[in-house]
């Protein structure tokens, strides 16, 4: 911090007066800044802390002492209860976790399969309709999901794909491909054209260039895009609700939690454990992706 040095250098005379406007404002904002930071950390972190804490208590205890901020007892029976199958008297979240995982992984795979060539084409190749395609992708996010939901609901009900994971994956892919292309395109543009041109001169075809030059260089970007898509698919709620609500064996974790949240038979703390299971993978991925994102930005420098 060189702030103090500079002010001493540049304003010799007014600095003698201790309480000029500048000094007052600087002090006030310093204090205010710390207060804001404290409040923001509390507000963003507390709900997640509360979630974990509640998942480790029994409901009787929570009702008895709702203000407790540290669990007096560590009761992990909530996790056991939420994970055991319905047949054994639990909530069957293990099945939901599997469904969520399968859907998210399939979505990532198909999205990347479509988005990598698409992003490459938009960033590198000039062809008729290139600009219109970008506009079309923007338009995807302009329309409310509920607008798409009505005809998709009708359509999938009609061809019998409603209630199937495949139908849901198709919808998710359409929702995530535009943003993936946008993310990947930015990275492909950082790969120097000269690298590709030298490969072309060495006799590589366009597809060989993508496979052996661009893709390896964009690998960190590929990873962060994949994680981002995974997060979207894992968190998604509306389409899961519309397509899968009827069959409990096909529920995702998000859907399962929301469907069971209203019932009075299941203790809130047990569902809190389910909520933790839903959130943990995302928080883990988020901190992983944050690092990868930085790596993706800094890697890929041209040598020689």
């Amino acid at each position: 911090m060189t702030r103090t040095d500079q002010s001493r250098l540049t304003v010799p005379t007014p600095a003698r007066r201790r309480w000029n406007r500048d000094a007052v404002e600087t002090r006030v904002f310093r204090v205010l800044g710390w207060m804001v930071i404290a409040v923001l950390v509390l507000v963003t972190a507390f709900p997640l802390y509360y979630m974990v804490m509640l998942s480790l208590r029994s409901l009787d205890q929570v009702v008895l002492r709702p203000g407790l901020l540290w669990p007096a007892e560590f009761d992990v029976s909530t996790y056991v209860s939420v994970l055991t199958s319905v047949a054994d008297g639990g909530q069957g979240f293990l099945v939901f976790l599997r469904n969520s995982f399968v859907i998210a992984v399939l979505t990532v795979a198909v999205t990347l399969l479509a988005a990598v060539p698409g992003a490459y084409a938009i960033s590198r190749l000039r062809f008729a309709g290139r600009r219109q395609v970008s506009a079309l992708f923007l338009a995807v996010y302009l329309f409310p999901a509920i607008l798409l939901a009505v005809p998709l609901f009708v359509f999938f009900a009609g061809i019998g794909l409603r209630g199937s994971l495949v139908g849901l994956v198709i919808v998710y892919v359409a929702q995530t491909v535009p943003i993936s292309i946008y993310m990947l395109r930015n990275y492909f543009e950082t790969v120097p054209v000269s690298l590709e041109e030298s490969a072309a001169i060495d006799g590589c075809s366009r597809f060989q260039i993508i496979r052996w030059i661009s893709l390896p260089l964009a690998l960190p970007a590929l990873m962060s895009t994949a994680l981002y898509v995974f997060m979207i698919a894992w968190n998604e709620f509306l389409f899961a609700l519309l397509f899968l609500a009827e069959d409990r064996d096909r529920w995702t974790v998000s859907l399962g939690l929301s469907q069971l949240a209203g019932s009075i038979e299941i203790p809130t703390t047990v569902l809190m454990a389910g909520s933790v299971l839903l959130t943990l993978p995302i928080i883990g991925i988020f901190f992983l992706a944050e690092r990868l994102l930085v790596e993706g930005l800094t890697s890929g420098a041209e040598k020689g």
Partner: protein
């Protein structure tokens, strides 16, 4: 978007015409279209066709039970659209949607700006704090709405517990199920829409990270010399913010306003999960969902979705008419 491309040398000279061999540019164009084809197919099938279909459905009298028997083209009618405008619930829902979108947009961007400003200077642990700021946005919506519901629970929620023990509330507040409460300040009675305000607070909490991300990125790009020069000229922190930083952020804020407004206007998950659309929080998207699932009235649901989109397009048109210049700057 106008990247100047070096004119590529043609593969063959024009004096030797051979139709089988294409130039590099032609081959690139073909490759580009081929590579983009899978994406386009999915987008057109799952986004463009459904939108077109919604328009068709909006003019048909169709119930969910009929869908297997009836084809795409049925008898066309204007009943759905007139039904949208004649039902009293629609105007209430539209007003709620507009209010919710405007307040949600302003508060989330405002909070994001405050957070970005507070986390501007370096301090030990800033990276971790920045990570925390993004948590509400990345955490699954079902999980965070469930936690909020539990925190605000009148029986054992922590907020009511704190309110009772610290602020001396005599009765627990049912934040999510109470339509309105009378609050008297200086002997003036106010009707406060409790549930709607709670949902708006959730909206600000969950989406301020979005604004925070954009604004932080923009702030780091502001050259340090600008502010340094203002400091030397004797500008105080507020003056530096008002005259140096704010003008630099304005294009981003204009862009954020559009994006947040669109997203909030179309929002379904948050309100559906928090209140189910009850207690005066019914927005149009929740209404459409109810029409579709509870009543199975596809025609009415489509018509409402269509009207919702049209309202959004009109509002965006007005916005671009007046603030389009700022958005141009943002790009």
């Amino acid at each position: 978007m106008t990247r100047s491309t070096p004119t590529r040398p043609a593969g063959r000279s024009p004096t030797r015409p051979s139709p089988r061999v294409r130039t590099l540019a032609q081959r690139d164009a073909r490759a580009g279209q081929t590579l983009l084809a899978p994406t386009l197919v999915v987008i057109v099938l799952v986004i463009v066709v459904p939108i077109a279909w919604t328009i068709v459905l909006a003019f048909q009298d169709l119930r969910l039970i009929d869908i297997r028997r009836r084809g795409l083209m049925g008898d066309f009618t204007l009943d759905n659209l007139t039904g949208v405008f004649s039902s009293p619930g629609f105007y209430n829902a539209l007003t709620t949607t507009l209010l919710y979108s405007m307040v949600g947009t302003v508060t989330s961007i405002g909070l994001g700006l405050v957070a970005a400003l507070a986390l501007r200077g370096w301090f030990r642990g800033r990276a971790v704090v920045r990570g925390f700021m993004l948590l509400p946005y990345v955490a699954p919506v079902v999980a965070v709405t469930f936690v909020w519901q539990t925190m605000l629970n009148p029986q054992f929620g922590i907020i009511n517990e704190i309110g009772a023990s610290v602020f001396g509330w005599t009765n627990p507040i049912a934040f999510l199920t109470q339509r309105s409460a009378e609050v008297s300040i200086f002997e003036l009675e106010f009707d406060v829409p409790v549930a709607l305000l709670t949902v708006m607070a959730f909206q600000a909490w969950r989406y301020f990270p979005f604004a925070f991300l954009f604004l932080t990125a923009r702030m780091t790009a502001i050259p340090a010399e600008l502010e340094e020069a203002a400091r030397i000229d004797g500008a105080t922190p507020t003056q530096r913010f008002r005259h140096v930083i704010w003008p630099q952020l304005l294009p981003v804020i204009a862009l954020l306003t559009v994006l947040r407004f669109i997203f909030t206007f179309n929002e379904f998950d948050d309100i559906y999960l928090l209140t189910g659309g009850g207690a005066g929080t019914e927005v149009v998207s929740v209404r459409i969902y109810e029409l579709l699932t509870a009543r199975g009235d596809i025609g009415a649901a489509s018509a409402q979705a269509l009207v919702l989109s049209l309202v959004l397009v009109i509002l965006l048109g007005i916005y671009f008419r007046f603030f389009g210049r700022h958005l141009q700057d943002a790009r």
